[in-house]
Each structure stands twice: as C-alpha cells, then as structure tokens.
Amino acid sequence: MIEPPAQNLPTERTGPAAVLVRDVWMDFPVKQGSQAVPVLERINVEIQRGEFVCVVGPSGCGKTTLLNIIAGFLNASRGEVQVEGEPVHGPDPRRIVIFQEGSVFPWLTVSANVGFALSRKTAAERNQIVQHYIDMVGLTGFESAYLRQLSGGMRQRVEIARALAANPEVLYMDEPFGALDYFTRFKMRADLVRIWQQEKKTILFVTHDIDEAIQLADRVVVLSSRPSTIRLILSVSLPRPRDLNSRDYLDTRDRILHALGMSLQNGIPPDAGD
Amino acid sequence: MSLQRRVLLAAIGWLGTVTLLHLWLNTSAFEKRTVSTGQTGKQFRVGFLPVT
C-alpha cells in the first residue's frame, strides 16, 4: 500500500501527533560566501504515539541530520518540529537519542550508566528501575561490569536500557546496530521490538539497512540521496513477528528499492552504492 | 564515589602526617622556646656563609 509522500494517513486521531515534522528544509553553510549545501528539502512526517517509524536512505543523505533536528540538537533552516503539539527548541529528557557513535559512559558501571538519569529518585526507586531495565535488555549479571569489558551488542543494550530508564515518551535511534555483527543484529532487533511492545514507546529509528527497516517498522520513510526529499512513506502491514521469507516482505523491499530508483530483479545494479 | 572519597582521605591524611613530621623533625615549632625572644618577638636573623 503506497502513500503519496505529501499526505499522511493517521490511523485514528487521538490528540496531536507524537512527533510532527512540518515542511523542514536544511542546508549547511560550508564556507563563508560560498553557496550553502542543501541537505533536506520539504520533509513532512507525522508520527503517532506508540508508533515504530523507520527512516531509511542511502548513507550521507542527511538521515542523521534530520534526526538531530527532530531531537532538537539542530535547528532546521526552515520549517518546524512539534512534539505533542509543542514546538521543539532543544533536547529534552522526554525524547532520548541513542547516538550512532554510542554514548554510554566508560567510567561508569552498567548499573551506574542505566541509572544515570535517575539522580532525583531515591536510591531504592533507582535500583528497582535500574534492575528492571537491566533484566529487560538481558544484562542481568553484568551490573558492575565496565564498558571495556562488554561486547558491542551488550554496549547497545546498556544504551537502550539507559534511555528507557529515563522513561522518555519518544526514542530516537541513529543506526544503533551499525557496528554489530550479522547475527547480533538479528538478536538486537528482536529484543528491541519486544521492548517496544512492552514499554509502548514511540520510536523513530534511522538506518541505511532496508531489511532492518522492514523488520522493525510500522511505517518506513524513504529518503532520496542528497539533497534528500521523502520519496515514499510506506506502511508495513506485515504481521509480527515478521516472516522474512514471505512474499509480502520481498514485495515491500522491492517497493522501497523501486522508490530509490533501484530494483534487484535482475541482479545488483552497478550504481547501487552511489 | 567511595573510591574517590578514599583517595581524598588518604591524600589529606598524608598531608597532615608529613606536615606534623616536618614540623617536629625540622623546625623548632614544637620545642619550648628556652629563652623567650622578649620584646622583639620576631627573631633577629643574621645571615652568614660557612667561610672563614
């Protein structure tokens, strides 16, 4: 089911959108005097509460820039971002970002990291919350380990646990599984969906991996290469847990590839990586 | 935090110990002044070099 880019299909109207991106444009001034480099053009997205939305596009198309704008770390050149109807002016603990390069604090143990945002709570409350999320992400037994003693997958689990412990309304994730091996990625995606269903958070997940997007998202926003515009917003109606061999799965993938001007019917196109 | 507090306490402990030791061993801070310097209070210091 393809949606025309400009229009979005709210399932049922339950108050203002969790995250509303209206007519956002972004260009980077490279050097004084020289022409600014356009990065994002006419971005319109509306994310409902509890929805899992993936943004996918070739690397360097401005996905991370868009995420930073939505999260409030960057101001758009034009346009606006609203969360629950309020305009976004900066980062906020109700909207936690999991950065691409990983921001777990290496000088803290796992439990100290996970409890980082809970300084205002009592010790008992904090320990209870920390233990809950450590168990949830499967780090039981590693509470007093340090970052350098953990594998890549486990570090991402700490990242997620810490974000969830802050009890945000929205989770922004910037290619969090990019550095993991093939098998761990599958495991992390399954765990993330499970946690998303349990915690009922709104998630905006940025990735360059189309398969990852389809395995995770309710809706996939497909961005073109730079200057990127929205090529397609695709609702993924596959039932969960998703059967990755099903016909529908492959059709969905082809639609996304097609929207990006690529199709894999007759082998990998030569210009696939541009 | 207890580790950093322990390091801090150890540092302060050392500071106190070495200061007391020094005052005791190398200065006359603890010796009762046999002769009170009386009116001048401040010592009358006379410099010299160990020559002739």
């Binding site: 770390f73 906020d92 970002v97 340090y146 970052l147 | 580790l3 500071l15 070495v18």
Partner: protein
C-alpha cells in the same frame, strides 16, 4: 522472559602481573652498573669521586645521625604542599579554561608565557617574597607543577567526546551536573596523567628549590655536602635518595592509574 547474554562475552579483569623475570633482569643490570661504577672510580684513581660502597656508608652515616629521615621528610613535605597547591589551583583553572573559550583565549597566552620559565629562574624572586622559610621552596615546586597540571586538564576537557556532552544535555543535566558527572569524569584520566607529570617535575625541582637558604631536605643535603669539603659521598647519596623516592612516588601515581574510574581511558596497551 528475558534472554540473558552469554557471560563469555565479558572481557576478564586484568590482574597486575609481575613476572620473576621482571625483577631479576633489572637487578642484573643494576649490579652490573654498580660494578662498572666501582671499577671506573678505581681505574681513574680519583680520590674525590665516591665508590658505591662509600655512598652506602654515607647513607648509613646520615641514617645514624637521624638526618636521613629529617631530610626525606622535609623534601616530601615541600613537594607535597607545592604539589597540592598546584592541584588545587591547576585543576579547577584547567577545567575552566578547557570548557570556556573566553577564559582560554584570555589566559592561555599568559600561561604559555610563564610555562617555559625554569623554576630555577624563579629562585631570586622567591627569596625576595618568601625569604628563608619553607614557603620559598614550596612556591618553586608549586610553579613547576601548576603549569603542566593546568594545561593537561584544559586539554583533557577539550578532548571530551562531544557525544557524551550531547547525551548529558539530552538527559537534561544542569551546567554543574554536566561538569561534575560528565566533563570531570571524562577528563579524569588525562588529568591523572598530567598529575603524574606534574609530580615528576615537582620532584625534579625539589633539589633546586632546596638550594635556597633552607636547612633541611635532600636538595640541601647535596648543596651542604659540597660545603662540607670532600663529602661527595653524601652528594651522591643525596642523588640516590632523590632517585629512589622519585621512582616510588611515580609508582604510587601509577597505582592511581589502575583505578577503574580512570583505567577505562588507557586501553590495553597501558602497562
């Protein structure tokens, strides 16, 4: 309900490992050095330069006279206070300079201007200000170590990865919390390295500092031995003491580098 990750993924604690070889090898070299030294003095027939044994007897003589403990304590007292003041001034100022561009631009030239001045050049000034008290050597030692500490702290703050700052910002930390819970811990490893360098320099300077009119300390021991005529055995004894204590101080500081809150930054190549 939860799927625990396999424990094998955890990289074990690194126990400090001192092999027997690590002790025997250097001791052989040390013995050879002593023999070489002894032989060289005998060959040269110099009556002035002491042989290792003379130095040992010099140390024994100092210990018997109770001067050994007095001088060691005096030097440690001055280095401790000079270094502590340098830490108290250096770290906060370094943190400020590292985190505030204005302060950095304002003070950096001044600091870079003072840094190359050798503490020995400060001796005349410190006598004019502090005269013949302990304050003069403490001042020199303070000067010697405050610059490396300030500079390394400032560099540490500036090199804190921005992703930590963004994450902290995201969690809504106040400016003070950002400093005490992210910037300081993140810079701590480099600060500790700066402290180690600062302490090393402080101990280097103690000899020069104690050449002013103080009547105790290892630096004084050396200068006084020269005054006492041919007591070059005491001069070398002083050097040996300074070397050994300086080495122990460095070992002590290296233990600080094995603390968890700092070790994370040194990676596995750190010995």
């Amino acid at each position: 309900m939860t799927s625990a990750a396999q424990p094998t993924e955890v990289i074990g604690q690194e126990p400090p490992f001192v092999s027997a070889r690590a002790i025997i090898l250097p001791s052989i070299v040390a013995v050879m050095f002593l023999l070489f030294w002894d032989g060289a003095v005998r060959l040269s027939g110099s009556q002035l330069f002491p042989k290792p044994l003379d130095v040992l007897w010099g140390l024994v003589e100092l210990a018997q006279k109770g001067l050994l403990i007095k001088y060691v304590v005096a030097s440690l007292f001055r280095v401790t206070w000079g270094f502590t003041l340098a830490v108290i001034v250096g770290i906060p100022f370094g943190l400020l300079m590292g985190s505030n561009k204005l302060v950095q631009e304002a003070f950096n030239p001044l600091i870079q201007g003072f840094r190359p001045i050798s503490p020995i050049a400060w001796i005349p000034v410190s006598i004019l200000w502090f005269g013949v008290s302990d304050a003069a050597p403490v001042f020199l030692i303070f000067l010697a170590s405050v610059f490396p500490i300030t500079v390394s702290t400032a560099a540490a703050v500036k090199s804190v990865q921005s992703v930590y700052l963004r994450a902290a910002d995201n969690f809504g930390l106040t400016k003070f919390q950002l400093f005490s819970r992210v910037i300081f811990p993140a810079s701590l490893p480099q600060i500790v390295t700066g402290l180690r360098i600062g302490l090393g320099i402080a101990w280097l300077v103690v000899v020069a500092a104690e050449m002013i009119a103080v009547n105790s300390g290892l630096g004084y021991l050396i200068i006084d031995a020269r005054n006492a005529g041919k007591r070059y055995d005491l001069v070398v004894a002083g050097m040996v003491l300074i070397g050994v204590i300086g080495w122990l101080l460095d070992l002590l500081m290296r233990q600080v580098e094995r603390f968890q809150t700092v070790k994370w930054a040194y990676g596995t190549l750190h010995d």
